[in-house]
């Protein structure tokens, strides 16, 4: 039953490409990419700046119309339509004039759910996932980690099957980041969402994911898909196992190659 579910394709990018018109001529931000992400999977995109990670996210979220290809959600064409996937940016984007509770219900509110009901749904989650006591605080009273929790819960409460997380922990210190990773995995385990995660941090990508997509620049493209077959739940100590280190070395090598190629081209 579970294996059957895991094989259902949730997100499918069908030859999606993006070319921007710039004053200097057309700029290919993303070479055609074809990817299938199974339901309930946790996948990560890693790659240098300008490899098209954010472009992919914007296209999947419907905020950017690709110049080629289609985005399929649950087998139906969803290209260029908004409000179908949860999208979280590195900046938490909490509204400073709203209390934490009213920030996390934003998605439901926009979808037209009555406020009372939306708050009723959000409160237990806030309490259960580390924001107890801060429900009625304003965002500026929260630490960086807490703010990211609130932003993530807002994405979760938007209640879409797919969540796109664009470097959500990029601005956090190492200690907080590590806590947040475990917290995210707990959340993912509880809700079974399909998560696409962008990061610069190779270790973070491997620790969290079922699959790591390595990308490269000029043009932005997918170079390799690396499966991470490490059993869950994962302890922090798995980062020291030969298996983990092997995957990390492979990722680093791919990123290095891409980096060198870019430098050679520039020279």
């Amino acid at each position: 039953m579970i294996t059957a579910m895991a094989s259902v394709t949730k997100v499918h990018l069908d030859n999606v490409s993006m070319t921007f018109d710039t004053p200097a001529g057309p700029f290919q931000a993303l070479a055609p990419v074809t990817v299938s992400i199974a339901e309930g999977r946790f996948v990560s995109l890693i790659g240098p700046s300008g490899c098209g990670k954010s472009t992919i996210f914007n296209i999947v979220a419907g905020l950017l119309q690709p110049t080629g290809g289609r985005v399929m959600l649950d087998g139906a064409d969803a290209t260029g339509t908004i409000g179908r996937v949860g999208y979280m940016l590195q900046k938490d984007m909490l509204l400073p004039w709203r209390k934490v509770l009213d920030n996390v219900i934003l998605g439901m509110e926009i979808q037209g759910l009555p406020l009372r009901e939306a708050r009723g749904r959000a409160l237990p989650l806030l309490r259960r996932y580390g924001l107890a006591g801060f429900e009625y605080a304003y965002p500026n009273a929260l630490s960086g980690g807490m703010r990211q929790r609130a932003a993530l819960l807002r994405t979760l409460l938007f209640d879409t099957d797919v969540m796109l997380l664009d470097e959500p922990f990029g601005a956090l210190d190492a200690q907080t980041k590590s806590h947040m990773q475990e917290w995210l995995l707990q959340l993912w385990g509880d809700f079974g969402k399909t998560v696409v995660f962008v990061t610069h941090d190779v270790e973070e990508a491997i620790f969290l994911s079922d699959e790591v997509y390595v990308m490269a620049t000029r043009p932005g493209r997918l170079v390799e898909t690396i499966p991470v077959q490490i059993a869950r739940p994962r302890q922090r100590s798995i980062t020291l196992t030969p298996e983990f280190i092997g995957i990390k070395e492979r990722c680093m090598q791919l990123l290095n190659d891409a980096h060198k190629a870019a430098l050679d081209e520039a020279a």
Binding site: I82, G83, L89, M93, L95, W97
Partner: protein, 286 residues
């Protein structure tokens, strides 16, 4: 020690010394200033005011200045009593107050709405922008006689001038707020499937409120100026008309009295708007 340092880093960079070699380095203390107690500041302020009035009185009495043109505090005080006893003092104050408040409200509200409206279309904003800048740089008071002709000598013309002075300041400031909006914040709203109206109501308006509020104090002053100028040109009531009347009849003491009343009115309204600003800011406190 120093020689070693030079040989290591200085040699490579060839750093010039930071001070002339023959001078010994001097070390300063961080400048500091001790705050006077609050009562002392108030006492000094009152002292300066009292001293100024006393000096003025003395100068007029001993003939250092021409008492006819400058009047003197004792005459001003006597005229003040008479002014309020005469009865139309409150009519004048009420008239000026009314035109100021109407102009302030109208100008601020429509200006803010105009500024916010630019969020809806970049093209529309680009088209309207030059007209706004032109109107802004125009010396609007120079058009006051025209406004009086169009709107008559009653309240409407004063309100119109006060509105003209405040509307563009509000619009430009609010538009600055619109431009300061983080595009990523808008993208977040759209990613949640928001309509433009939802983004406007839930994001743009609350985000721009601090900008709207920040011009309130400037606008109350401008609105008062507009109302007074309108009364200077043609009016049957108002403090501006009273000053003009006093001046043209060489009643210098009365000029001072009305100016004093006007300043009091300005201070009261400024205080009220500051309080309003405080309340509003607390309401949208981050």
């Amino acid at each position: 020690m120093t020689a070693q340092d030079t040989s290591r880093t200085g040699a490579a960079l060839d750093l010039a010394p930071a001070r002339p070699a023959h001078k010994a380095r001097t070390y300063r203390r961080l400048p500091s200033q001790r705050d006077w107690p609050f009562w002392l500041i108030i006492a000094i302020q009152i002292g300066i005011l009292a001293g100024g009035i006393a000096l003025w009185q003395a100068a007029a009495v001993y003939g250092w200045i021409d008492g006819f043109f400058w009047s003197k505090p004792s005459d001003v005080y006597a005229t003040l009593i008479k002014f309020f006893a005469a009865g139309d003092a409150w009519t004048d104050i009420g008239f000026t107050f009314q035109s100021t408040i109407y102009g302030f409200l109208l100008g601020t509200a429509s200006g803010s709405l105009l500024g916010l409206s630019f969020w809806w279309s970049r093209n529309y904003a680009a088209v309207v922008q030059p007209y706004m800048i032109c109107f802004h740089s125009l010396p609007k008071l120079a058009l006051a006689p025209l406004v009086i002709l169009v709107f008559g000598i009653g309240l409407a013309s004063k309100v119109a001038i006060a509105t003209a002075l405040t509307i563009i300041v509000s619009a430009l400031t609010t538009y600055a707020g619109v431009k300061a909006l983080d595009p990523d914040q808008e993208r977040l709203f759209y990613s949640l499937g928001a309509s433009r109206m939802q983004v406007f109501r839930k994001l743009v308006v609350p985000f721009c409120l601090p900008w709207v509020i920040s011009v309130l104090r400037v606008n109350i002053g401008l609105a008062l100026t507009g109302a007074i100028v309108g009364e200077f040109i043609a009016a049957q009531h108002g403090l501006g008309r009273a000053i003009l009347y006093a001046g043209s009849t060489y009643d210098i003491a009365l000029v001072w009295v009305v100016a004093l009343v006007l300043s009091t009115l300005a201070v009261v309204m400024y205080g009220a708007v500051s309080w309003l600003e405080y309340v509003l800011r607390k309401g949208i406190k981050q």
